[in-house]
Amino acid sequence: MVSIQFFLALAAILFCIGLYGVLTRRHLVVVLICIELMLNAVNINLVAFSSIGPFANITGQVFTLFVITVAAAEAAVGLAILIALYRNRASIDAIKQDLLRW
């Protein structure tokens, strides 16, 4: 059986890739995809703990279902807002959105 450390390492790598993408990418659709990557890293963690963790039980998989659902809702709202933004500004480049700053 594969040890749980590998799953946790995979999730950590995925989380870091997602965070790196959110911080550096300029294309806002890619940024949203990177947020999904971070949420999926969480899902891998939860599913790994729920099947081969020290206290394996079903709760983790239930949690995962909720996370997937919420992530879908968040992506839908995010993309809708991106469309509104594109109509207003003709660009979804992150660093061109500079009306609001101190």
């Binding site: 806002l28 947020i35 969480v42 963690n45 206290f55 709760t59 949690f63 933004l85 207003n88 101190w102």
Partner: protein
């Protein structure tokens, strides 16, 4: 526990509010999306007050839970009443605003506000990581939509994009922290986590600390404390003004409720590990929030930084822990004061910025000559925010101060006093604009105040001043409470 054994009647207020929100959504479709719909606004206020009555009357006296997932106790009841009354005031503020903007589709706006309220109610009632997350996301996703509600307004959509990207990242941080806590304990119930956390920390100190830091970062974003505050000024400036009021007051108070619930139920066993971290975050938040607010010219942006500083004050009792009941009492008292003075101030801000068409502080110039009532009320709210005597803000701050002293955090109390003095400068900047300066020639006419705005201002003014003169009405009640049952 079987599904049918659960005491679902505990959720009656939430179910009623959800039914009202769906009903308003349906009425909106049946009457056409566009146009003025004042009846829907009134129906929303009725829905919120009905729910508040149910929260007190139906569930008020008992402490019970649905399988440690959804809990009804004095803590959740008190926060729910604050949230529901606050949202009713927010709707009072928005009635004037939505009528002036044809791109604010009224039915959708009010029903989204009600759904966000539903999320906030679920949050404060949750005793389990899953329900907590669901409530948090119902609130957040509704708030993303609300922030970008004016879809042809450039600033509004830009603020919504920033909010969605940063809010989604914060959610991912919270979840990543939660996933380790679940993996190490095998449960998502905060009560069970609290029972195991001491031994768990001895076995895996680094993993527990890491997940705790992830959760502090995520929740810190939701309550907008430094260094996770960067979204707040941008979103507050771009969002429609009533939505800004909602985010500043309701969303922040609900997030504070879950911070208290998570950290004091789930992680009280390792308080020594995170107490000083919260204290440092609170101090940095007060310093940075107040100092940056000093050179703001946009009133909504100024209120955002002032709200960040107020979040710092609210964190002090969390860091200065003596007993759980004491911390909850202090936070709740200041939360009530904060909601009332912020919403009152935003009612005036909405009206004035709409009348003058500018969000600059200069738009308050000579307000006293145009509308003495609004100018005096606004001064009372600002004085209360600054924490001068005879207002609710003073009593709340004094109580926080004594709490910090009795917990031995003298330095934190000193930071708080010094930063309150700094905050006088920018609050009195607005007051001097209202009283000392003459208004522009063309707007010298007296303003007629709409009924909705006037009533919101009056209610907030009565509570703000009333709690300043008669604080012991609430303090005696709060100190006799046994807030959390589990």
């Amino acid at each position: 526990m079987l599904l049918f054994d659960a005491n679902w009647s505990l959720m009656t207020p939430e179910i009623v509010l959800a039914a009202f929100a769906l009903l308003i959504f349906t009425i909106d479709f049946m009457t056409g999306v566009k146009g003025k719909k004042p009846f829907i606004g009134r129906l929303s206020i009725v829905a919120l007050l009905t729910t508040a009555a149910l929260v007190v009357g139906w569930n008020g006296a008992q402490t019970a839970s649905i399988g440690h997932m959804f809990v009804v106790d004095p803590f959740s009841t008190a926060f729910k009443v604050v949230i529901l009354v606050g949202v009713a005031l927010v709707i009072g503020i928005s009635m004037y605003y939505v009528d002036r903007h044809p791109d604010m589709y009224q039915g959708e706006f009010y029903s989204l506000l009600l759904f966000a309220t539903l999320g906030a109610m679920l949050m404060v009632s949750s005793l389990d990581l899953i329900t907590l997350f669901i409530g948090l996301e119902i609130l957040s996703i509704s708030a993303y939509c609300l922030a970008g509600f004016r879809k042809y307004h450039k600033k509004s959509t830009e603020s919504a994009v920033k909010y969605v990207v940063l809010g989604g990242t914060a959610s991912a941080f919270i979840l990543y922290g939660m996933s380790f806590i679940y993996g190490l304990t095998g449960t998502t119930s905060l009560v069970d986590i609290g029972g195991q956390i001491g031994t768990l920390f001895e076995a895996y100190p680094y993993l527990v600390m890491m997940s705790l830091l992830f959760m502090i970062a995520g929740f810190g974003f939701k309550i907008s404390v430094v260094p996770f505050h960067m979204w707040a000024p941008d979103v507050y400036e771009g969002a429609p003004t009533p939505v800004t009021a909602f985010l500043a007051a309701i969303s922040k108070v609900a997030a504070f409720a879950i911070v208290i619930r998570v950290f004091f139920i789930g992680f009280e066993g390792i308080y020594e590990e995170w107490g000083f971290l919260i204290a440092i975050v609170a101090a940095v938040t007060m310093v940075v929030g107040n100092l940056i607010a000093l050179n703001q010219h946009n009133i909504k942006r100024l209120m955002a930084y002032s709200g960040i500083a107020q979040a710092g004050y609210l964190l002090v009792p969390v860091a200065a822990f003596v007993t759980l009941d004491m911390t909850v009492s202090v936070v709740l008292f200041y939360a009530i004061a904060y909601v009332m003075m912020t919403l009152g101030a935003f009612a005036v801000i909405t009206f004035v910025t709409e009348k003058t068409g500018s969000e600059d502080i200069l738009s308050f110039r000579g307000l006293y000559h145009r509308s003495p009532f609004l100018a005096i009320a606004m001064s009372a709210f600002l004085i209360s925010l600054a924490g001068l005597p005879a207002t609710a803000g003073f009593t709340g701050k004094a109580w926080i101060f004594f709490q910090a002293i009795s917990a031995g955090l003298l330095w934190l109390a000193v930071v708080m006093i010094v930063m309150s003095v700094v905050s006088f400068f920018y609050y009195f900047g607005i007051i001097s604009q209202m009283f000392m300066k003459e208004p522009d020639e063309d707007v010298v006419t007296r303003m007629s105040i709409p009924v909705s705005t006037a009533s919101v201002v009056s209610v907030s003014l009565v509570v703000t001043i009333g709690l300043g003169f008669l604080p012991f009405l609430l303090i005696n009640l709060f100190t006799s409470m046994n807030w959390m049952a589990f």
